[in-house]
């Protein structure tokens, strides 16, 4: 009774007028017809999209630094942190002459996220010491096969910040470039 909203259930037998339901049905119809003029709760999805909050966790993006070098060092912390075990990676050593591609001596030669396993919890983002992975504000598109949901490195990498500046900024979204 804290809210003072509790109502005792009326167990009186229905009167004749009540038992033909007519008046209550008319009242109900009044309620439904009023919804005809209300604002629609849904939107025309592919043409219109809703704006997400800044902390929305969508598809993963593998980050680059300001010079376009990949941040990831294939340390595997994200894979360890992942509760759904959706991340697979293979590390490789940076060769001389690849300094403009990878920021540190080790990089991810293979980096896959199985989007069917991923629960978009964002723990990989929290685990990453290099700020190499974050969850963007786009969400997983549909696909015809299971294989299409295993995102390879090409699908995940952010566009190059110098060569393809516009796409890079679009992919960055509301996240500020930290490095």
């Amino acid at each position: 009774m804290l809210t003072q909203r509790a109502k005792e259930v009326d167990r009186k037998p229905m009167t004749f007028l009540e038992s033909i339901y007519l008046w209550n049905i008319v009242k109900g119809m009044g309620i439904t017809i009023s919804h005809l003029f209300k604002k629609k709760a849904t939107i025309n999805y592919p043409e219109q999209t809703r704006t997400f909050s800044k902390v929305f966790r969508g598809l993963h993006v593998l980050n680059r630094d300001a010079e376009g070098r990949e941040n990831c060092t294939a340390c595997g912390l994200c894979a360890v942190a992942c509760p759904a075990e959706a991340i697979t990676m293979e590390g490789a050593e940076r060769l001389p002459g690849e300094e403009h591609l990878y920021r540190e001596e080790k990089y991810a030669a293979k980096y896959e996220i199985n989007m069917l396993r991923c629960i978009f919890c964002g723990l990989c983002e929290e685990a990453c010491p290099k700020d190499a992975i974050y969850l963007s504000q786009t969400f997983a598109p549909a696909n015809y096969g299971r294989k299409g949901f295993i995102y390879k490195k090409d699908d995940l990498l952010i566009p190059h910040p110098i060569e393809n500046k516009e796409a890079y900024e679009a992919a960055l979204g509301d996240k500020p470039a930290k490095n």
């Binding site: 038992s19 033909i20 049905i25 109900g28 439904t32 919804h35 005809l36 629609k40 709760a41 849904t42």
Partner: protein
């Protein structure tokens, strides 16, 4: 050979009318399915189908096309002949009832021939509608029985008992209307309303009871117990697939259309234009026919909207509630309505 002399123009005229009315029934039923989904969406703050064509106007075609391409399954354990007869019967009876409804003011040709926009103005008009509607229950019963499935059978039993019990109050309301017209002829029922005002003014209770019974006769919510998705698994059309299922679903919408037309004719003055004396306009007969047809279609559309509106407002009745309402509430009310109407008619000495 004189016996075989038939007025060919008469046959042509009737053939055109029959074709036109069947086409109209199908067209309206098609777009009622779209309207159903749209109204459902609007009443639930959604948008409804809007992908197929502008505002989704090709959605019924897409739905129909889908049904045609579905695999057609006739269960091995079913009675094949009856299994096919069921949906056919449902469709035929749904279409047959439209024969006696006057769709517009009679058209007078240049030569002075009067062409009624009505397939058959038989003397027993409204009784014919009732008898055909009664046969309509066989569509459900045969389909449910032939499916050899206990859910279908139970749905068929429910449908039959429901239709039988709701035909009684419906008939009693009709009697009260017939006191006022003195004729079963549909054209005279309309003519009486054009002269003396619509029957809804004199018979409001009669109309409400008639409307409730019409909902039950069409198996519409809140009386859609024969289909009852959550207890009977879609009821009598459970074993049906492809266009045979489509026939059942479509027959329901045609039934809605026709029963709206019957209600408009009985209580809302048929093709009569309200509040004006259209005879004083001096329009040509062609325009009078066209306008009156538009008027009756507007009235029918509104009735159809009320059908949909009710469907998306109230949930399904329980079976015992349905029977209680029919036998213990509506029949006494209809009887009282009938007796009062009779007494008033007697007092007025009509």
């Amino acid at each position: 050979m004189t016996l075989l002399v038939i007025d060919w123009w008469f046959i042509l005229e009737k053939a055109l009318l029959i074709g036109g009315i069947i086409g109209l029934s199908f067209f309206i039923a098609m777009y009622t399915t779209l309207a159903e989904r749209k109204v459902a969406a609007w009443l639930q703050d959604r948008r409804g189908p809007n992908r197929a064509g502008p505002f989704g106007i090709f959605q019924p075609l897409a739905d129909g096309g889908k049904l045609f391409f579905k695999e057609e399954i006739i269960p091995l354990a079913s009675n094949k002949f009856l299994f096919i007869l069921g949906p056919a019967l449902a469709m035929i009876t749904a279409l047959l009832t439209s024969t006696v409804i006057p769709w517009a003011a009679p058209f007078v040709t240049q030569g002075g021939n009067v062409i009624p926009i009505q397939v058959a103005d038989v003397d027993m008009g409204i009784l014919l509608v009732f008898s055909i509607v009664s046969v309509g229950v066989y569509g459900i019963m045969i389909g449910g029985w032939a499916s050899n499935n206990k859910f279908s059978l139970m749905a068929a039993i429910r449908g039959a008992s429901q239709m039988v019990s709701y035909e009684l109050p419906m008939g009693l309301c009709l009697i009260a209307v017939l006191f006022m017209t003195g004729s079963l002829k549909m054209s005279e029922i309309v003519a009486n309303q054009v002269q003396n005002g619509w029957h809804i003014i004199y018979q409001p209770l009669g109309f409400i009871i008639f409307f409730v019974c019409a909902l039950a006769e069409c198996n519409r919510t809140p009386f859609d117990l024969p289909e009852a998705e959550n207890e009977l698994n879609f009821g009598y059309h459970q074993e049906y697939s492809s266009m045979k299922l489509g026939f059942y679903l479509f027959a329901e919408y045609i039934n809605m259309f026709i029963s709206s037309a019957v209600m408009v004719t009985l209580f809302f003055g048929g093709y009569d234009i309200p509040f004006v004396n259209e005879a004083s306009w001096g329009l040509s007969s062609f325009w009078m026919t066209a306008i009156s047809f538009a008027v009756i279609m507007a009235k029918i559309s509104f009735m159809l909207f009320v059908f949909l509106w009710i469907r998306w407002t109230i949930p399904r009745f329980r079976y015992d509630q349905l029977m209680n309402l029919g036998w213990k509430k509506l029949i006494p009310l209809a009887l009282i309505n009938m007796i009062i109407s009779a007494a008033v008619m007697l007092l007025l000495n009509k």
